[in-house]
């Protein structure tokens, strides 16, 4: 059998095994939870597609696949960048494969195929419900679904190659500096924020279009593969589909030819640390809490995938605050034009900031993966005499350290710029602290119940573990509920409502804290690591 095929089969098997571990997990109801999450995603995507189908006039119906495929393209670009770091550089079988009679292009190809397969799953959640509903609504010819499904296989290749190229550039730059991990973290975070900003600007540009031609033009220019696939599906145009296949194949071949040598050199460099002699040995005593917190900090900033996934929240809060502070006049205008009765709120900007803080703090707590990420080092903390409350407390402290200062600084700056009332300021400070506390505690509890130690790269834990899924979806739902309660359902006036929510969250945090104090040690003792 062809070696490339054998390798690709191996990579796909590894991908399926990792996913099966997520689905299977330790608990009997793990698979049920994942199925529930998948059903929820398909349901939401279907609902959104149906709403679009119902609201867009029939003569403009091509906008529906166009927008959903554009969203899938953007999603693959961002998620692809997250995964590219792990799939291209952090895989464990590099030495094994390198010792076999395989070319580096064959190895790179197998990793890329696995990556594309992973992205296909993400994009399928977005596009397949749309395609099915569109087919039902407009009774399209068979080529609509046929070309759509074939095109699906090729659509991720271009964004994936771009994401991989960016990941390679980040590694290349960071491998030449004094603090490679720090620079890699900063660059990766910058890239993710940059990609999100470009996507938002792009969305803004298309949103301001006056007619359909102006709407389609930026997509035709910048997202040509999306445009070709849409045309192929809507018009049954085979040549447009061939354009997509041709471009994707060309990009893939070029990527393999140009990047394989660099990729190989970078992988070799990533797997060796130069032994620098002559450093000074430092032997200092500190408390157990300080030692644990220092360890957590080192662990956190040593993981690019974790930093990328969890620092986006604080950075978005900071950006939101800067935008609100710098664009005061524009904000007032937007509020006046939005149609929402902001007079009901004493400090509408405070509400917007609070919404941003709550959402960003609650969707990705560091604690949701921090026990799993102990991985093969879990034996160290388990064999040392560390009380569970101190061990878990250090993880919680890190979550608070990374989230709360940014939120508090943003609140204090904006309270100065927009003259929040003292009560509002205090409540905002309390609510953001409580949000970080609640999400941190919840993340710990979930991770204790759904740990994942047998991963082959960290991104599997950070993005794909059951613990992450549960925490992200719960955090998202809870923050939406709170924000909706604050903005649209106010039996109490906003200040009293905020105080009531703060009280509720205090009780929630106390309950979860009490649970961890009581059960933390016994839950930890059930975990044996790798």
């Amino acid at each position: 059998m062809n070696r490339t095929f054998v390798l690709i089969r191996l990579s796909l098997k590894q991908l399926i095994w990792q996913m099966a571990r997520t689905f299977g997990g330790r608990k009997k109801f793990s698979s049920l939870l994942v199925l529930l999450a998948a059903a929820m995603l398909i349901g939401l995507s279907g609902l959104y597609s149906w709403a679009m189908i119902e609201s867009v006039p029939a003569e403009l119906n091509m906008l529906i696949p166009l927008s959903m495929l554009s969203a899938a393209f953007g999603l693959i670009l961002v998620f692809g960048f997250y995964h590219a770091q792990g799939y291209l550089f952090d895989f464990q079988d590099y030495d094994l494969l390198s010792s076999m009679p395989l070319t580096r292009r064959q190895i790179l190809m197998s990793k890329l195929v696995a990556l594309v397969a992973m992205m296909l799953i993400y994009s399928a959640f977005l596009t397949l419900p749309m395609m099915a509903l569109f087919q039902l609504r407009y009774a399209m010819p068979a080529t609509f679904l046929l070309y759509g499904l074939i095109g699906q296989l090729f659509l991720p290749i271009v964004p994936m190659s771009v994401a991989c190229l960016v990941a390679v550039v980040v590694r290349l730059v960071s491998s030449h500096v004094k603090h490679p991990v720090l620079i890699r973290n900063v660059l990766s975070l910058g890239m993710v924020i940059g990609l999100m900003t470009v996507m938002t600007l792009f969305q803004g540009q298309t949103g301001q279009a006056q007619d359909i031609a102006a709407l389609i033009q930026p997509i035709q220019t910048w997202l040509a593969p999306v445009y070709w696939l849409t045309m192929a599906m809507i018009n049954g145009n085979l040549s447009e589909l061939l354009k997509l296949i041709g471009l994707s194949s060309l990009v893939l071949i070029l990527f393999l030819i140009l990047i394989a040598p660099v990729w190989n050199a970078l992988n070799q460099k990533a797997r060796t640390t130069p032994a620098k002699t002559g450093g000074k040995v430092k032997l200092e005593a500190s408390s157990m809490n300080a030692a644990l917190l220092r360890k957590e900090l080192r662990r956190y900033f040593g993981s690019t995938s974790l930093v990328m996934n969890t620092m986006v929240g604080p950075v978005m809060v900071a950006l939101c605050a800067v935008m609100l502070a710098a664009q005061k006049d524009l904000m007032v205008q937007i509020m006046l034009e939005s149609g929402v009765d902001f007079r009901a709120f004493a400090d509408p900007v405070a509400m917007l900031l609070l919404a941003a803080c709550l959402f960003c703090e609650m969707i990705c707590p560091i604690t949701a993966t921090s026990i799993s990420l102990e991985g093969k080092h879990f034996w160290i903390v388990r064999s040392l005499p560390i009380p569970a409350n101190r061990y878990l407390g250090a993880k919680l402290a890190l979550n608070l350290m990374l989230n709360v200062p940014v939120s508090w600084l943003s609140i204090l700056i904006l309270s100065f710029v927009y003259h929040f009332t003292p009560v509002t300021t205090v409540l905002l400070l309390a609510l953001t602290l409580l949000a970080a506390l609640c999400s941190g505690l919840f993340g710990l509890i979930v991770n204790l119940h759904f740990p994942r130690f047998d991963y082959d790269r960290e991104i599997v834990v950070v993005k794909q573990s059951l613990s992450t899924m549960i925490t992200v979806f719960t955090g998202m739902g809870f923050s939406f509920l709170l924000i909706a309660g604050l903005l649209f359902w106010a039996p109490l006036e906003p200040t009293a409502m905020m105080a009531a929510i703060a009280l509720g969250m205090t009780l929630l945090a106390a309950g979860m804290g009490f649970y961890l104090l009581r059960r933390g040690e016994s839950l930890l003792s059930k975990l044996s690591g790798v």
Partner: protein, 236 residues
């Protein structure tokens, strides 16, 4: 010092350790040997509180590992067969971390780290990232960390794997000295010559059960440990 009574650990329907009973007294080196998959590492992990077990009791210095894990862990040190240490730290940072957890004062830690680092010839590497260490260097660093708090019970899983001959010799010497101070060592090994020379007591585990237990003389008689082991391994 170490008391294991009726220990049972099951993985699904299979019992990896099946009603294991053994005792290690103060000042003795106990060699735990057995073929691959016999249940040695499972037993060791249960002893040090990493792995929960289904039945039985493990007591360290009179304290139950289940009821009082922190008291037990304060009195023991453990080195796994393949010590994965924090790659994010330097050697000195890792030793400081362990010393902070055991709350070893500055003077004592400096004295002990300097002593053991000099013995294992690791002084020059302590300021280097652990990710740059070889397997043997990691093993040496783990051993230094284990001796830092002068544990009453030292539990070692295959401690000689990866060590160079000089370090192996040194480790055997340190093990004997550690026990001569009244402490206990419980270790697993496949190097039967070492076990025969070093151990006061030996236990041979097969399919999760003890196939032989006693002093070295009681177990071997006038045979070598290797002969006894092979006979037991072949005997169904």
């Amino acid at each position: 010092m170490l008391e294991i009574k009726g220990l049972v650990k099951r993985y699904g329907a299979k019992a990896a350790v099946d009603h294991l009973d053994l005792t290690c007294e103060n000042g003795e080196i106990f060699g735990f040997i057995g073929p691959n998959g016999a249940g040695k590492t499972t037993t060791i992990k249960a002893v040090v509180g990493i792995l929960d077990f289904d039945e039985g009791e493990i007591r360290i210095d009179g304290h139950s590992i289940r009821q009082e894990p922190l008291v037990c862990k304060q009195n023991l040190a453990y080195i796994p067969d393949n010590p994965d240490l924090y790659d994010i730290m330097r050697g000195d940072e890792y030793l400081n971390f362990v010393a902070d957890i055991y709350q070893i004062d500055k003077e004592t830690r400096i004295k002990r780290i300097q002593k053991y680092a000099a013995l294992f010839e690791l002084e020059g590497a302590l300021a280097m990232p652990i990710s740059s260490y070889s397997h043997g260097m990691k093993q040496k660093l783990a051993l230094i960390s284990a001796f830092l708090h002068e544990p009453k019970l030292l539990v070692l899983d295959e401690p000689f794997v990866g060590l160079d001959p000089k370090a192996s010799f040194l480790l055997k010497k340190l093990m004997r000295e550690h026990c001569d101070r009244g402490n206990t060592i419980f270790f697993s090994t496949h190097v039967l010559e070492v076990a025969q020379k070093l151990c006061d007591h030996v236990g041979i585990l097969k399919d999760g059960r003890l196939a032989a237990l006693g002093t070295m003389e009681e177990v071997t008689g006038n045979q070598s440990l290797e002969q006894v082991f092979l006979e037991l391994a072949d005997h169904e």
